[in-house]
């Protein structure tokens, strides 16, 4: 059997800072995952639909613009509405500590803030998929 963990790496919203998303994408690849990279300016609807078509195990999103309280929960809802109950949804970026409980409440499994080693993200995915 040739199972691979599949991860959708997406940048919801309009911010163009994709250094983090790209570094994470490469680190996940080097950890042996299949990474579907969808690039900038993805709407929550596009992210959820891509997650469905690619049947990913994980949706990993990055936002640096402060739009996370609006966009992250929206993606979670859309993904779940499509029947993907078990997809792990994680987020990262410039996210104040105080916002994290609400994001977790909304279904974001973990939030990775600046300074997180990519190996933490890899470990988290391996432990939770």
């Amino acid at each position: 059997m040739e199972k691979r963990i599949r991860v959708l790496v997406a940048k919801p919203g309009l911010d163009g800072h994709d250094r983090g998303a790209k570094v994470v994408a490469r680190a996940l690849r080097d950890a042996g995952f299949e990474v579907i990279y969808t690039g900038l300016r993805q709407t929550p609807e596009q992210i959820a639909e891509a997650a469905l078509q690619e049947d990913v195990n994980v949706v990993a999103m990055s936002i640096l613009s402060g739009a996370h309280p609006h966009l992250f929960p929206k993606v979670v809802n859309l993904v779940r509405e499509k029947g993907m109950k078990d997809v792990l949804i994680i987020g990262g970026g410039v996210i104040p500590e105080t916002d994290i409980p609400a994001l977790k409440e909304a279904g974001i499994a973990e939030v990775f803030t600046p300074g997180t080693p990519t190996s933490d993200i890899v470990d988290f995915i391996k432990a939770n998929v």
């Binding site: 402060g66 739009a67 500590e97």
Partner: protein, 548 residues
Amino acid sequence: MSNEKIQAGLDKYNASVEKATAKFPERPNLPEQRLYTPLDIEGTDYADEIGFPGMYPYTRGVQPTMYRGRFWTMRMYAGFSTAAESNKRYRYLIESGATGLSCAFDLPTQIGYDSDDPISEGEVGKVGVAIDSLADMEVLFDQIDLGKVSTSMTINAPASVLLAMYIAVAEKQGVPADQLKGTIQNDILKEYAARGTYIFPPRPSMRLITNIFEYCSKNVPKWNTISISGYHIREAGSTASQEIAFTIADGIAYCEAAIKAGLHIDDFAGRLSFFWNAHNNVLEEVAKFRASRRVWAKVMKERFHAEKPKSMMLRVHTQTAGSMLTAQQPNNNIVRVALQTAAAVMGGTQSLHTNSRDEALALPTEESVMIALRTQQIVAYESGLADVIDPLAGSYYVEALTNKIEKEAWEYINKIDEIGGAVAAIEKGYIQKEIQDSAYKWQMDVESGAKTIVGVNKFQIEEEPPKGLLKVDASVGVAQCKRLAEMKSKRDSDAVKAALADLKKACQDENENLMPHILSAVRTYATLGEICGVMREVFGEYEAHVNL
């Protein structure tokens, strides 16, 4: 001392080092060469390569007296929420001694969408101020005399529209366009390569830029029409050499486009400005600033045959490195910013924005912004770094490093020439890939411990979550949409329609300068989204090249 004597001394020294390191090994991950001597800059001709401030090749600075005359412009990048909120922050900064304004726009504005566009949801007023129309711009500069202040606007793809709005506000204040001072970033190539807020494909984008060059050279002559930016390339993860190399390659592409459009190099080159990052490695940064001036001067003189000295001067705005701020122990960032400021000042910047300690967490609070501004003032007035011109010149290390960075920059510029110029190199994904590789290497070095970031991978502590962060309320978006709707109901919609139709026609004629048409549209209170919508229709949109 002759070179032989120095060499003999060096040999003796190296022998002693060998003994010393056998006993006390050096720290790992250091640069290979531990010591620099006159031998390392043996081939550097002082008169040709280093020279004097205000003289070719401008290695030591672009003005003859540098900060002995006047300090750099202390320009604090700010803007968030609504125009009214940002106006308050600008007036606070001016009262605190800031000498220039720097406007941050929110993402919908930067990408040419109105606040009520569905795609703007969640983003309105977040990373900057939301500007939908001239009405917002009027509020943004309320009670600020545009004849006196110099304003820098971080705006790229829709730069022409925001500049037109600024000109229109000035008109209403009674300030003629030829008195306006400031800068628009207007650097689309680095948006494709590193920053991501592009709209149109390269060809029409380059046309818009040359239209602005031409229009401003006649009507807004004191305006810096472009800020060719390495800042974001560095933020995206490039090295120091890559930062200046890719940016100068972009600069070459803009010059070529303008020349192709029929402009003469000396008519616009003096209004080109640059934008560097001030990163953590102080001496490397100083060398980078010096090398960049030398490379640009040579490019202008040898490649474009510029004749006016002003055309050959690389004038630069600098911002301290946002990506080097840590979310951990955020007060440490004050120290980082101070060192970065020292680097920019010893590097000879013309203006500087210093980041605030809390920017890895959120938008800066007023208190944090004050500390960042005070940092510049302390370096200016107390440190002595600004008292003598180019104080690190003649350091064996700094001169050797300046040479090395220059050499590496030329190698990249030549490679990009081979590919067919910066536009082709971006379309092929070459520049993006180089940046990504450097970013990945940096991250892996931090994770392996080869690079130490204090508080991140060493000297960590348990921390309480920081308090008092600035948050932009979601209600800002709602309020802004309401404001927009009210404005739309009051304007003369026939005039708007006519202006947009006229703009569309102008877009379709490649020989037409779009600036007057955009200005007319702006005056009717046509919105940014409407104006960019017309251009999107005619020009299409850029599709990113990703090559991971």
